[in-house]
């Protein structure tokens, strides 16, 4: 399947959704920090991979897909919206393995190397692993 970018989809976002995403993301980051401060890095590190933005993300996907289907066909797009959310969740599972690769690069790289080198490397590891897994999954 061809990968592309559809900038028109940005118009689907309502201002309140953008604000909610920003606030939710900020709140999850702060909560993860507070947990790390309270219980230490071993427990705190787990929450660096907490799927905090995942539930609102799949919910938005469901709503947008539902609205699109309803606008196009006039029929209820509830089920197709949920199917699209399911497909996004399947993609997220590939991203989660990539997240593990991101963490592995940081874990093995620190403290010998600086973050300016490690962070781009780790981000590249996340995207490469996630994309390769996605391609394997699509080819099956």
């Amino acid at each position: 399947m061809r990968v592309g970018v559809d900038l028109k989809k940005l118009r689907q976002n309502k201002p309140i959704e953008l604000i909610a995403r920003f606030a939710f993301g900020g709140a999850v980051t702060v909560i993860a920090t507070l947990i790390a401060n309270r219980y230490g890095p071993v427990i705190g590190g787990l929450f660096l991979a907490f799927p905090g933005i995942f539930p609102p993300s799949v919910s938005l996907t469901e709503n947008h897909a539902e609205e699109r289907k309803q606008r196009r066909t006039g029929k209820s797009g509830r089920l197709s919206g949920r199917a699209e959310a399911s497909v996004e969740a399947a993609g997220a599972s590939a991203g989660a393995i990539g997240l593990g690769a991101f963490a592995l690069v940081l874990w093995k790289g620190l403290p010998a190397h600086g973050l300016l080198l490690l962070l781009p490397l780790a981000t590249a590891a996340w995207s490469i692993v996630a994309i390769v897994l996605w391609r394997i999954r699509e080819s099956l």
Binding site: P41, F50, A90, F102, L119
Partner: protein, 180 residues
Amino acid sequence: MDVRCPRGRGSYPYVAGSTVGTVDREQWRWRAEAGQERAPRASLHCRSASSPYRCNRLAHAKAGKILTELLLRFLIGGAVVSFFSLLGDVIRPKSFAGITAAAPTIALASVFLTLRRHGAVYTGIEARSMIAGALAFFVYACAVSFVLMRWRPSALKCAAALLPLWGAVAGLCWAAWLRR
């Protein structure tokens, strides 16, 4: 009874000299009798030059620093999450865009500040734990995808209801690997 600083958000105790700790009534009475200290006046602010008791300025500064850091993390975290979220909106197909739902947003937002505050060893330990968190995320995302496809419940309800699964897998990883 603790003697509280009247301007210190009501929670920072007076500190006698350079000693850090709570000064209670008995303690300063004993000190006053021994001629070591004068009894503090409750209305006297810690910064007053005439006060024999000084507020723990270190605690004030530390609290301010922590709040500034949390605010910074909130802003950076919000920006990073919004960026990846918008990226997920414009990418197609949706299965590929799903990758961005598992982007290392929290880590990217906080790793620089964590390194600056706690050092590389602490950040490395967090990264090791993050591997276990990512494994838990994988199991959770697979479960959400399966349940949504099989029974088609509301996406938000399904994703929220299955969050304890993430906690359970992360807890198992902690018990089996990280706790040692």
